[in-house]
């Protein structure tokens, strides 16, 4: 495998990511907003890039075994079926794929905003918590000391 080989398969990888997290309910698919992160972490680790690249080969082979010409030609349901097979047969690849997909997807400003949160930095804004009275601890204190003297 040559450096950058995974990036050369970005179209296939995007389809795989869209199968993991499909666009739904106003949320984008992971192929649209998680792909760059997955490629970036792979580019920073030769081991990870190799693992993902070899995993994509397995995905393509499994797709062809279903009678099609490749993963891209399958229906969404068949794509999910193929990935469930690969999840069983190549657990290490799949675990890394899903983890980095989720990282990229739920770290993306578009998705964070869709969740209802401010997608920008946490500082200096912080979060507002409405002022409230101190909790009523009457029942707890009414029991008296619950520690042992020693």
């Amino acid at each position: 495998m040559t450096p950058g080989a995974l990036a050369a398969r970005r179209d296939l990888l995007a389809l795989v990511l869209d199968t993991l997290v499909p666009a739904s309910a106003g949320f984008p698919g992971a192929g649209a907003v998680g792909l760059d992160h997955v490629l970036a972490v792979a580019a920073a680790s030769a081991d990870l890039e190799s693992l993902l690249w070899r995993g994509l080969q397995v995905v393509e082979e499994a797709a062809r075994a279903q009678g099609g010409s490749g993963f891209a030609q399958l229906s969404p349901d068949d794509r999910e079926s193929v990935l469930r097979q690969v999840e069983q047969s190549h657990a290490d690849f799949f675990d890394a794929l899903v983890r980095h997909t989720y990282d990229g997807y739920y770290g993306h400003p578009t998705v964070v905003a869709r969740l209802g949160l401010d997608p920008g930095p946490l500082q200096p804004r912080g979060h507002r918590i409405e002022a409230a009275d101190l909790p009523d601890l009457t029942r707890v204190t009414a029991r008296g000391p619950i520690y042992r003297q020693a």
Binding site: D103, V111, L122, Q123, H127, I129, I146, R148
Partner: protein
């Protein structure tokens, strides 16, 4: 080898305990040099200033040194341990990363042999430490409410408690319905400006550090005052070994400086504050003809009796948003309903419940501390939306009893960047701890159910949960069964002190930093009276 100007006291490690000792000694006019293998953390470097802050939790801001792998970190072989040790190497040490949950040990925690027939009593007690708890509270700044019936009366807290918010009020309702103890946590996080530091703005991830100094990491509490009092702090200084003089007393240390040069720092006394793994590692690396099995190790107990605090995590899912992303991540509520020994439960000693805030977006997807990833595929969106911002996690923090087989040793092959042998950790969860955690899981399910959870999931043992490193050079009166005496001095080398979690005789069922620092101040007080 370059030799630095000698000093009165050399402190090794600038974290929770080393900072406290350096402040106390320097304030008494005693010369202090502290060697710290990490650096100052620039407040602008924290990930909170970046939109991708959450990604850093798994990389350069991970609490696991084996994941983070920064130049100032050393590797830890934890393959023989069911819990991964966590730590941070910087000015402030692991208080950079902690969630600042700040309970004290309780009186019974110092008398476990007398009360329950297990482990050993401490040679000091709660009453002895009480003034040092109070002093430490003032230095760190504690948010809370007095009157908790789980403790003897405490001095006023420095600021009001961390707000419970919707999430805290929800689980408090569960404890109320069951009639169980609960209390807003004592937290070393300011809710009002105090002592020149700012109040918390509830941004959330204290575990990635606090960029505004509201959380009490010792780089913003003790160290500015210690430096003002004359202490000298040398960063990126990695100690290789503690040296002995011809009289058999410690006379300093040899260390690698920032440029990798070997240097010697001489001192009249040495204080080890390098955490419950770093301290035994350094002692075991300081072998000599006088101490062939490691410095101050005639008892053979250096590195033994490692206690972590095993954690089980129980997460309830609710039908409504809980606002869990708001507020300090680790600090909401503590319950000590099952803290004291009741043998009818099937185990000795007890545990606390610690209720933390909710999960951030990525953590929600990956399952957080429970580790159950949201399913992928067509069901993903529904499953994720049912979880995000709708969970409460209850941590069960159980008292780990000391066991000689749980230990820190030197790895025969692994070393840090300077070639210093790395620690190897062996740890097996005891049957007593397993029963304790199982009891806690069942009770936490009850509490979450009573609070309205519609679904509960749990992790029976959190692997990445080794925040608390204790017991590996324990305190006692008998040189045959302990490493340091009640004054914190090594039995074998009386001018060598140990003040970090290594000194702990037992672990209690609460977070230890408040107690570690109180012990450190108590030891420093004795040094001051004896002029070190």
């Amino acid at each position: 080898m370059a030799t630095d100007d000698p000093t009165d006291v050399l402190v090794i490690g600038a974290g929770a305990s080393g900072a406290a000792v350096a402040w106390r000694l320097s304030g008494a006019g005693i010369g202090v040099v502290c060697l710290e293998q990490g650096d100052w953390v620039d407040p602008r470097a924290y990930p909170h200033w970046r939109a991708d802050w959450e990604l850093h939790r798994q990389t350069d801001w991970s609490a696991e040194p084996n994941v983070r792998r920064l130049p100032q970190d050393y590797p830890v072989n934890d393959r023989a341990s069911s819990i991964s040790p966590l730590m941070y190497n910087a000015v402030g040490g692991s208080t950079i990363h902690w969630s600042a949950h700040f309970p004290r040990f309780r009186p019974s925690d110092f008398r476990v042999r007398s009360l329950d027939g297990v482990a050993d009593d401490w040679p000091i007690d709660y009453a002895t430490l009480e003034p040092f708890f109070d002093l430490n509270d003032r230095m760190m700044g504690v948010a809370g409410i007095t009157g908790d019936p789980a403790y003897p009366p405490k001095s006023p807290r420095q600021t009001p408690p961390i707000p419970l918010d919707t999430l805290g009020a929800t689980i408090a309702g569960g404890f109320e319905r069951l009639g169980w103890h609960w209390w807003p946590s004592d937290s070393a996080i300011l809710t009002r400006d105090y002592d020149g530091r700012r109040a918390c703005v509830n941004c959330g991830p204290c575990d990635l550090g606090c960029p505004i100094g509201a959380k009490a990491s010792t780089d913003v509490t003790y160290w500015p005052k210690a430096l003002a009092a004359g202490a000298r702090l040398v960063t990126r200084a990695r100690v290789r070994e503690i040296t002995l003089g011809p009289d058999g007393l410690a006379d300093g240390a040899i260390y690698y400086d920032r440029e990798g040069r070997v240097r010697a720092q001489k001192a009249r006394a040495v204080v080890l504050a390098a955490n419950g793994i770093g301290t035994p590692r350094l002692l075991l690396n300081s072998r000599s003809a006088r101490f062939p099995d490691g410095l101050a190790n005639r008892s053979g107990l250096v590195g033994r009796n490692l206690m972590f605090h095993p954690y089980a995590m129980v997460r309830g899912t609710f039908d409504r948003p809980l606002g869990g992303h708001r507020g300090p991540i680790g600090c909401s509520i503590i319950s000590q309903e099952f803290y004291e020994t009741d043998l009818s439960r099937g185990f000795v000693r007890g545990y606390s419940f610690q209720v933390a805030r909710g999960l951030s977006p990525i953590a929600s997807a990956n399952g957080g501390s429970v580790g159950d990833r949201v399913p992928w595929g067509r069901e993903h969106r529904r499953a994720y939306d049912e979880r995000f911002d709708r969970t409460i996690t209850v941590a069960i923090i159980g008292e780990d009893l000391p066991e000689p087989g749980n230990r820190v040793d030197l790895d025969p092959a692994l070393a840090d960047d300077h070639g210093i042998p790395a620690p190897a950790v062996s740890y097996t969860l005891s049957e007593n701890s397993r029963r304790m955690l199982d009891h806690g899981i069942a009770r936490a399910r009850e509490a979450l159910g009573a609070a309205g959870a519609r679904e509960v999931a749990f992790n029976p043992l959190l692997r990445a949960g080794g925040w608390h490193l204790m017991g590996t050079a324990r305190m006692g009166r008998d040189p045959a069964t302990s490493v340091i005496d009640p004054a914190g001095r090594c039995h074998d080398v009386p001018n060598l002190y140990i003040v970090d979690g290594s000194a702990m005789v037992t672990s209690a069922g609460v977070n230890p930093t408040s107690t570690i620092q109180a012990v450190a101040l108590y030891v420093a007080d004795g040094m001051t009276r004896r002029r070190a």
